[in-house]
């Protein structure tokens, strides 16, 4: 019985006696997926996130109109068969603009995460592992950035360069890395003093090898949770910047800016500002649900 | 009999079904000193804690009979249980570092235990707390009463814990590995203190430990548990005449100062022990 090779994929993945590194690694991933997929909150988040990315990828196919095409004769129309979500103050199709808007939002989120995430992780791990002066200097710098509320620093920063998609991304990234670095440092500090890291040092491995191969992968778990939850905060900050007129500029179909330009119609044509607002809500909720679910899977004691 | 247990089982739900931690344990405890011995995962702690119904929420508890002085613990409501907990049976946990509330002074924690079951003023309770600290042979009870747990050594913390559990004058004391977090010299002091207090007050003692020789030194009777079952019950004095191979194995595999051995006998676990 033990000698027979398990026939099914499931059996191969779930075996208690894997016979290769690859099998062990995939088995672990599969178990995590099983835990994840049995969590309805996480799955709802995942489905919403995937849908969001699909919208962004297939916006040209899904859109029914040109998002920039104006039709001044048909301004502020109610939702109809032709215009599913109605039209805005310039007669543009709101549905198509919302679809294209997902590209802007997700693009910004990814750009921020891909810059702030690795930077924060690297700084946090190094500060935590080396301690001493390196730690003091690096943490003082993050403290300075953390001393501003996020939106305020982003606003001041955008004001210094000029509003636009690049400056929005740069401003948010500038405010996004310090909390990540803080978290990575805190994790590193607890990991650093464990016996298994002591054992790694006793193999003669250098500090960079230990950080890269042993410390960083363990920080990654709580970091993934944090970054996923942070993505919703990034969406909200980007939208707030857009809403205040300091983010992505019209006519680009950024959701926050769409709400801002249509806000004066809230009492008469309430759907015009509400629909892009709901789009922001759904996108932020998707990442919050996903992050919450991932936390349950990766870090059960944090529930 | 103070405690009567028939066919007690405790199980926990896992993804692959129920996992039984205690299976079919039957036990009578009177006004005596009983030791429950077993290795980690043998179910000794769960068995004792079920008497106070202080199990994790997910635990599934079943028994044909589980009574404390005639009170049916399985069916008792929360109010009745609270009259047993503390008032009639105290519980001492392993490590005072974690078992004492870190933001309350030692005196407050003892006074609280007293006030929960006796009627009296705050001042009276505090006086009682200092008295109790004196009874557990703390040299400067008034000072220790004002101290926070992190300011106390392990041995002092455990004395505070004992004082707290003695406060409402219970009939029974359950000590769950009360000394395994302590140094050997302190360990002996604490165990002698417990033994002394229990004998003087005529209380029942349930001493849970992984250390068979230690338990038999302080108890009248010893129950040996393995994988959720009782494999043997015997008088502590008859330990050398233990019959079950598991009990014998536990005794033999210990290195001893008095006799040098080239190698230690290794326990060979017989699947039949599980039956």
């Amino acid at each position: 019985m033990s000698a027979a090779r398990p026939v099914t994929w499931r059996g191969w993945l779930l075996t208690e006696t894997p016979s290769s590194r690859r099998q062990a690694a995939w088995g672990r991933r599969y178990r995590m997926w099983l835990a994840f997929s049995s969590n309805p909150v996480a799955m709802l988040g995942l489905v919403l996130t995937v849908l969001l990315f699909l919208c962004a990828a297939a916006a040209p196919l899904l859109a029914t109109h040109d998002p920039a095409a104006q039709d001044l004769a048909n301004r502020l129309a109610k939702p109809t068969a032709a215009h599913w979500f109605g039209t805005d103050e310039l007669g543009r199709d709101v549905y198509s603009r919302v679809m294209y808007g997902s590209r802007v939002t997700l693009g910004m989120v990814l750009a921020v995460v891909l810059t702030a995430g690795p930077v924060g992780l690297a700084i946090g791990c190094m500060a935590g592992y080396f301690g001493g002066w390196a730690d003091r200097v690096l943490m003082r710098v993050t403290d300075i950035f953390l001393a501003f509320p996020r939106l305020i620093l982003a606003l001041a920063f955008v004001a210094a360069i000029r509003p636009g998609i690049t400056s929005t991304v740069a401003a948010i990234a500038l405010t996004a890395w310090p909390p990540i670095a803080r978290l990575a440092r805190a994790e590193t500090l607890t990991i650093r003093n464990t016996d298994y890291i002591a054992a790694m040092r006793l193999t003669g491995a250098g500090p960079f090898r230990i950080i890269l191969r042993h410390v960083a992968p363990l920080c990654l778990d709580s970091l993934i949770v944090r970054v996923t939850l942070d993505m919703s905060a990034i969406i909200l900050t980007a939208a707030a910047l857009g809403f205040l007129g300091m983010g992505v500029q019209p006519p680009s179909p950024e959701w926050g800016a769409m709400v801002a330009t249509a806000r004066r119609f809230i009492l008469e044509q309430w759907w015009v500002p509400t629909i892009p607002g709901l789009a922001i809500f759904v996108a932020a909720l998707a990442f919050n649900l996903l992050g919450d679910g991932v936390r349950d899977v990766l870090d059960p004691k944090q529930r | 009999m103070l405690v009567e247990i028939d066919n007690l089982s405790i199980a926990f739900p896992t993804p692959t079904g129920l996992s039984h931690a205690v299976r079919g344990v039957s036990l009578r405890i009177g006004a005596q000193k009983l030791g429950i011995v077993g290795e980690s995962g043998s179910g000794k702690s769960l068995t004792a804690r079920s008497l106070l119904r202080l199990l994790p929420e997910s635990a599934k508890l079943t028994a044909d009979r589980l009574t404390f002085d005639g009170i049916d613990i399985l069916r008792a409501n929360e109010r009745t249980m609270r009259d047993i907990r503390g008032k009639r049976a105290g519980l001492i946990l392993q490590d005072p570092k974690y078992a004492l509330n870190p933001v309350m002074t030692a005196g407050d924690q003892i006074a609280e235990a007293w006030r929960a079951h006796k009627k009296g003023s705050r001042r009276e309770a505090m006086q009682k707390a200092v008295d109790l600290l004196d009874q557990v042979r703390i040299r400067d009870p008034a000072r220790v009463a004002r101290a926070y747990p992190h300011e106390l050594s392990g041995g002092m913390g455990q004395r505070v814990m004992i004082a707290m559990m003695l406060a409402p004058d219970p009939e029974m004391l359950i000590a769950d590995e009360p000394t395994s977090a302590l140094d050997a010299t302190v360990q002996a002091d604490i165990l002698r203190l417990i033994e002394d207090l229990v004998s003087r007050r005529g209380m029942a003692l349930v001493l849970i430990s992984h250390d068979l020789p230690l338990v038999s030194h302080f108890c009248d009777d010893v129950v040996v548990m393995y994988a959720g079952r009782i494999v043997e019950r015997l008088r502590a004095a008859d330990l050398s005449r233990a019959e079950h191979p598991y009990t014998r194995g536990l005794l033999n595999c210990l290195p001893a100062l008095s006799r040098p051995q080239p190698s230690l006998p290794v326990m060979v676990r017989d699947p039949a022990w599980l039956a």
């Binding site: 501003f148 920063f157 | 202080l54 009259d83």
Partner: protein, 339 residues
């Protein structure tokens, strides 16, 4: 820790706060210098003659090297000089003194509401972990952390003001009460209370309800989540088993023992949340035309009034820092383990 150790760690904290403060000032200064707007043109206008431009440039010390400019900036700051706002032509400090109380009033009411609802909700969710109430609280929180404040504000106005007519409209008070109450603290409710003007007090409170609720929702979600996770950790402590073994009532176990252990940490969270409300205030004030610091900041931004923007940013940063420091001190005072 001994008394001298306590003093030493206090010294370390205050020196690190000073370094942070210095960094704060440096960042605002640098942002001001890389601005694409020429501050001279902003003051004298596009069509000023070259000699006037040159004179103002020298007056503002803009011809000097950057470190010297920074030194002048810091020196002015120490004298409470944040420059003059082009838009209002008042000093920025006077402007902030005028607008800040409105923001504080809004944020304080919001944090009170958020705490009173959020903390019990978080405790409840932790105690009933995995039960239906826990899931409901979770959904309420996740929604609160996902909804953009401006959407919530707009919808609140649409429903409670325009449709139901329950709430008064935007602003801090009705026109008829304006100037009724002599400003003492700048907090309208407190001023009305001091003056004994009940109608004005009622009016001020009515105007506060909607923006404060909108602002409070997001913070409440955060406070609830943090309370829940702290409580779960505390409830798994061994000392909870001890407390239950003593025969204490469940309420006493939960509030005296579990909550007692997280209370101090929660104060830190509340301080941070309060500071975070300053951020939410920027958007909320825009929606509700609330004449506070947030609105001052955004209007200055749109008018490229740089002194005002930097001044407001710096003041908010310093408030944030002060709250952090306060929370830290409170923690040292209240937690027996920290001493």
């Amino acid at each position: 820790m001994s008394r001298s150790g306590w003093v030493r760690s206090l010294g370390a904290t205050s020196s690190s706060v000073l370094v942070t403060l210095f960094g704060l000032i440096l960042i605002t200064f640098l942002i001001g210098r890389v601005m694409p707007i020429d501050p001279v043109i902003a003051i004298v206008g596009d069509h000023a003659p070259p000699d006037v431009i040159e004179r103002v440039r020298v007056e503002l010390a803009l011809d000097r090297p950057l470190p010297v400019q920074f030194w002048i900036y810091v020196r002015n700051l120490l004298h409470g000089d944040l420059g003059r706002s082009v838009m209002t032509s008042n000093t920025v400090l006077a402007d902030i003194g005028h607008f800040f109380p409105a923001t504080m009033e809004l944020a304080t009411v919001a944090i009170l509401g958020a705490t009173l609802v959020g903390v019990p909700l978080g405790v409840l969710a932790a105690v009933r972990q995995g039960h239906r109430i826990d899931h409901i609280v979770r959904v309420v929180c996740l929604t609160g952390q996902s909804v953009p404040i401006f959407l919530l504000g707009l919808l609140a106005l649409l429903v409670f003001y325009a449709t139901l007519g329950w709430a008064p409209g935007t602003g801090r008070q009705d026109v008829i009460y304006q100037g009724d109450v002599a400003p003492m603290t700048g907090l309208l409710t407190v001023d009305a209370l001091i003056a004994g003007n009940w109608d004005a007090l009622w009016d001020a409170l009515a105007h506060l309800v909607l923006p404060a609720s909108v602002l409070a929702y997001f913070s409440m979600a955060y406070i609830t989540r943090m309370t829940r996770s702290f409580m779960l950790e505390a409830l798994h402590g061994e000392y909870i088993i001890t407390a239950r073994a003593k025969g204490l009532s469940p309420l006493r176990v939960i509030w005296r023992h579990a909550f007692g252990n997280i209370a101090v940490r929660l104060v830190t969270v509340l301080a941070l949340t309060y500071a975070g409300l300053l951020e939410g205030a920027v958007v909320t004030e825009t929606i509700f035309s609330w004449p506070g610091l947030g609105q001052y900041l955004t209007v200055s931004l749109l008018n490229a009034d740089m002194n005002a923007v930097l001044g407001a940013t710096l003041i908010i940063g310093m408030t944030y820092l002060a709250l952090n420091l306060g929370a830290d001190l409170l923690y040292r005072l209240l937690d027996p383990r920290a001493q």
